[in-house]
């Protein structure tokens, strides 16, 4: 069984990402169960998605420490998912912050990226901070963060086959070419990191 957790802000494409993963899993003949936690707002709220893949996947929610892979589309949201991170968890983290109303108004401080990474590292050493947003802006597609982070995670873990994911992107997503390009970028980065760790 593989447990993936998506930590994101509404509007970042966290739900789309979960649909891509679930559809790819179905294509590969895997059992899948997905649970979503979202609030009342249409945009800008916390959106967390729990995905279990494999034969013994039943519950749409996780126990503490149970996530195998965390796809962190936003730093503070990834921090909010801290309790699901265990020693073995791979965390891929997009470093670009999206402020909350309370941090914008100065009612509380937005945790610095160093602090976020530090606190995650207290639980797992396998933290990968990438500026996915910057990568996406370079390709003139700032909405592609979700596919970039997925690409990195798939490049490192092989949790799903890249070919299946690409097929799903073509079938499901609005801008397949841009999304494919971004996914490939992430994939290449993930593979490179994976090689450098192995080597």
């Amino acid at each position: 069984m593989t447990n993936l957790l998506i930590a994101s802000v509404g509007g970042q494409g966290g739900l789309t990402l979960s649909r891509v993963i679930a559809s790819a899993a179905l294509k590969e003949g895997k059992r899948v169960i997905v649970g979503e936690t979202l609030g009342m707002s249409q945009r800008g709220g916390s959106v967390h998605v729990y995905i279990r893949l494999g034969e013994r996947a039943y519950s749409p929610l996780f126990s503490p420490g149970e996530a195998d892979i965390v796809l962190g589309l936003e730093p503070v949201e990834t921090l909010r998912a801290l309790k699901y991170i265990g020693k073995h968890t791979l965390v891929v983290l997009n470093t670009r912050p999206i402020h909350t109303i309370t941090t914008l108004l100065g009612l509380e401080a937005y945790s610095s990226i160093e602090e976020v990474i530090g606190r995650i590292k207290n639980r797992s050493k396998k933290v990968l901070a990438v500026n996915s947003y910057e990568e996406c802006v370079k390709l003139n597609f700032p909405k592609g963060v979700n596919m970039h982070v997925l690409g990195v995670a798939v490049g490192i873990t092989g949790v799903l086959r890249p070919e299946t994911i690409k097929a799903v992107i073509r079938e499901l997503l609005k801008y397949p070419q841009k999304n494919l390009e971004i996914f490939e970028r992430g994939l290449a980065l993930g593979k490179e990191i994976s090689r450098s760790i192995m080597g």
Binding site: V9, G11, S18, R19, A22, S23, A25, L26, R31, V32, I33, V34, G35, E36, T37, L38, G39, M40, S41, Q42, R43, G44, G45, S46, R56, A57, Y58, S59, P60, L61, F62, S63, P64, G65, E66, V76, E77, L79, R80, L82, K83, P97, I98, H99, T100, I101, T102, T103, L104, L105, G106, L107, E108, A109, Y110, S111, R119, N122, R123, P142
Partner: protein
Amino acid sequence: MTILGSEGEERVLMGNEAIARGVLEADARIITGYPGTPSSEVIMTLMSLASRLGIYVEWAVNERVAFEIAFGAALAGVRAMATMKAPGLNVATDPIFSSAYSGVNGGLVVLVADDPGPHTTQTEQDSRWYGPLIKLPIIEPSSPQEAKDFTVMAFELSEKYSLPFILRTTTRVNHSSANVVLGPIRKRHYSIKYVREPERFIRASMEWNRRRHKWLNEVLAKVEEDLDHDERLFSIEGRGEKLIVTAGVCYLHVKQVLENNFRDWGSSFTLVKLGLIYPFPKRPLKSLLSRKKFREVIVVEELDPYIEKEIKILLGDLSISLPVIGKLNGFFPLEGEYSPEVIERVLLGKGKSFEETVQAPRRPPPMCPGCPHRATYLALLQALRLERYRKEDVPIVGDIGCYALSVQPPLEAIWNEHSMGASISIAMGLKAAGIEKPVIATIGDSTLYHSGITSLIEAAHKNVDMLVVVLDNETVAMTGHQETPAYAMTLTGRRTTPIPIEGLIEGLKIKWVKVVDPYNFEEAVRVFREALKQKGLRVVISRHKCVILAKEFRGEVQVDYSLCTNCLTCIRATGCPAFAYSDNRVVIQEDLCNGCGLCTYFCPHKALRVVS
């Protein structure tokens, strides 16, 4: 994901999509409801297929009307469904109570989606109590697959027993996605007719009512006798001496915890899953409890101790003394949503405690960048300030919808948000109690149509001295953009007669009614100031299309850093999430900014401007 496909095909479907598929498999023809998270996707999924399949799928003005339409269809022999969230069921219960005495001809299913957590609901209502209260059968699925299967079953059973069936779900089933194997679509031959049977359908004779009550009790007894042991609704796994009784999504959590933590959990536990919630399956549980010696009974259910109380009654009847591990003795919480973690704490005897408290800044749900409600409340608050009212002296009553997010800083506008349509009448009560300063009710367009309109009739009739602001964003935004009665065409493509709010309230003869566009900000402030000076009932319709639908702001806001002093007034005044503060200066995140330009009204240095 598409719900079309042949028998045996597998899809990953969300619980609500699976229910929609169940509707197709059962060949139900009339599906109606009122939007409410987490129930809305059933109708939203079916809407896209409605005209192709020739079925009636439409939102109704409120849940009560939705139920009555579905009930009427079922009287004519057509399978029908009404969908709603838990508070919506409260709106619909008056006719549902009576429908239990009449019964139906075609299968009638009421989908009610409860929200343990709660995630998006004003209360953690446990609608299972409506079973014994209304006297209608309730079944509850645990997974998307069961959500589909139980929907089909509910239609069949409803028809078999001539009784409406309630399909009760929780957020975690409605909004989970999982593999679902499609079943056959069984096209039915409908002969549509409605026969006059006064004793069944008229509730004006008390003698008939008494007789129908007896009939209802007899049918419920038959439902219990036939279904309590139906293996689709009652399953037993394992053979251990600790008995777990559960239902709904809690079954999946329990199963996950057992699978993850025990090599052979069946030797220690016996796991019973209930699908029939009312009438309660007493007989098979009694038989299980009396033929096997258990050490304890563990009841895992969210919200109220409904199953637990039934189990305690059974144990009493059997004179069996067994510890019942549940909510009544404090093992499980009475509030909130359950997760594997909650169950581990009890089943494993110890909590896998999470030592580190997460100190992440809160992310309260914000209004979107470009949300017209932000502009309306800012104009209203500005008008109060200019008219020299202190914010803390003028109650602003809110209602159900995105505009309730105005409670968050920096607006901190509404004082009260209660239930659909309540704002106007609550404001009336405040005024009647003797509040001398202005009292303001704020209500959305759909909420006004839903039930606020009856309060507005009351306020107009009594000419109450208050201001009613209708925040008209021309959609039901919060639940995912459904249409309102102001539309000339529904989302299924049905041509309709639009009923604009001005036309709707014309007959109320309210003397002072104004329409403003909150993005014409200075004008909006002027109108609100004028409204505050008047006496009697005043209505301001503040109209601007929801930014997610409108997309008409094509520009973007830019900061002129030669003028910006970093005073942060723009952020403090609007709280717009498109702002960020980085490298010690105000930044506008272009991927979030919708270019509405509201912030430009507040910059004291004229450093913000809209560029197209």
